[in-house]
Amino acid sequence: MKNFILLLLTSLSVVIFPAQAKGNISWGGFVSASYIDVNANNYYGYNSGDSGPLFEAGLRGFWYINPDWSVSGLVIAQESGDWFESGLDVDYLSLNYKVPTNEDWEVGFKFGRFKISNGIYGETRDVPFTRPSIVLPLSVYPHILKEQSLRADGVRLDVDYFTLSGQQYTFAASIGKEAFDESFSRRFFGQDQGGTFESEWNSSIHFSARPNANWYLGLEYRRLKMHLKDSIDLAPPASPVRLPFDFTIDTDQYIASLQYSQQRYELTGEFTMRRGGTYAEGKNDAAKPLAPIFDGSIDMNAYYLQGIFIINQQWNLLARYDNSHFIDDDIETNLRDLDDFTIGATWNFHRNFQLKLEHHWFTGTSMIPPVRDLNPTRANNPERYWRLFAMQLSYRF
């Protein structure tokens, strides 16, 4: 109920604060309601099961102090099933400094909470109007790891170079800590798991080139290391003695993006590699010998290919093939891979409104939570072949 009220208050801001850009202050936002219908597996949550509503709302603000300094922020409210925490989140809130340069170069810093460059759609994945579909390709933008790749608290540097003929080259580097809530622990280890993952100071490097309106190329590297301290505890009745563990996820991620655009269509392909592992450390003598059972490889290759056909300014059609594949062959088949064939349509029936429809055919469940349920008596996501239909109405202001 509390979350609903928060959502309602955010939504009411549509009426109270219509989008404005007066002088040096600009604000606006969005409200979106979806229904996701899945025929099997716990897609939506561990209690709510497969299907459910998805509410998203956001309120953004930009304060232009002078040509060098500005402050910007976005608050987001979400209700999206019990795999995720509902309520308000500060998506970003940063003090921005633009280094005075000539018109060929743009150099800027962001201090505070900033968005992480993550593929083509990662930075604005929570804004319905900026993503190609309601459910993003899970290979490059997995729900499970959402907090890892969305935002961080620290510093970000952006360097842009523009040529006379319209070419654009961008370099971004950041260092920061991602904020995790308890839902990440549940998504990883199952619904009984408590505790909060803590991020190390992780770094990110991004390079992209836009040689003309038709082509876009992006390359990215991310270092992701996080810990769950003293929280995995195989206590009674699972074990006659307390068995506490520290747990670490240590990953390097690489993303390559390529996009080709034309007036009537756009083709996108993104490929990602994740390399790394999970490690545990037993915190007492009884737990130490059991630590290796938590150790494992999380090496993965994944990619998607997507085509958007732009019928006109109001309508576009989407087709996509998405594939994720863990390299370690000890993982059982259903958890090892995921294929998703998607078709969808977007109707921009008004400047401020958008309706999206899409249908997915999935094979495998590797990118839906939980990753590794610590309760062996529970059978999660047993269906290998499953379908998802989603419908979304969005309003921006």
Partner: protein
């Protein structure tokens, strides 16, 4: 045996025909045919600085935020389904309208820019710029008087 080969050959040719049709369709939708009509850059008469193509691109992609005198630029544009907006995107910015919209959304929702003002008609564009000395937009014909200044987009 000959019948089998003939069937395989005819199936192969059918597949080829389908492939040719797909390639032809793909080529057809790939061809962008910009409709050439004149587009004029429109500012308030108090802002008559000559803008380079690079500056125009920087302003309309929300990167350049202030005039040389330090005043904040107010960007005024039309809906992306309006023909004039499409023409301006293709001619002046060398971008498809949906790409420009995406650039805006990305900038606005990552906190690096002020959102543009959207108007419904050319008349509204003229009125908005007339009432705001720091605004910039575009129009389909030359408008130069005491309040407005226009330069043709090459």
């Amino acid at each position: 045996m000959i019948v089998i080969y003939w069937r395989k050959l005819s199936q192969f040719l059918k597949r080829q025909a389908i492939a040719v049709k797909i390639v032809a369709l793909f080529s057809l939708v790939s061809i962008s045919i910009p409709i050439h009509a004149e587009v004029w850059l429109l500012t308030h008469s108090s802002q008559q600085a000559e803008l380079s193509a690079k500056q125009i691109r920087a302003i309309f992609s929300l990167r350049q935020k202030n005039w040389p005198d330090g005043q904040i630029i107010e960007l005024v544009v039309m809906d992306d389904n309006k023909e004039l907006h499409k023409q301006f995107c293709l001619d002046a910015l060398k971008l498809f309208p949906y790409q420009l919209t995406r650039i805006w959304e990305r900038q606005i929702y990552t906190g690096t820019a002020i959102a543009p003002t959207i108007v419904n008609s050319e008349q509204e564009m003229l009125d908005t710029i007339k009432n705001n000395p720091n605004a910039i937009g575009y129009t389909s014909q030359e408008v130069s008087n005491e309040e407005l200044h226009s330069t043709i987009v090459d």
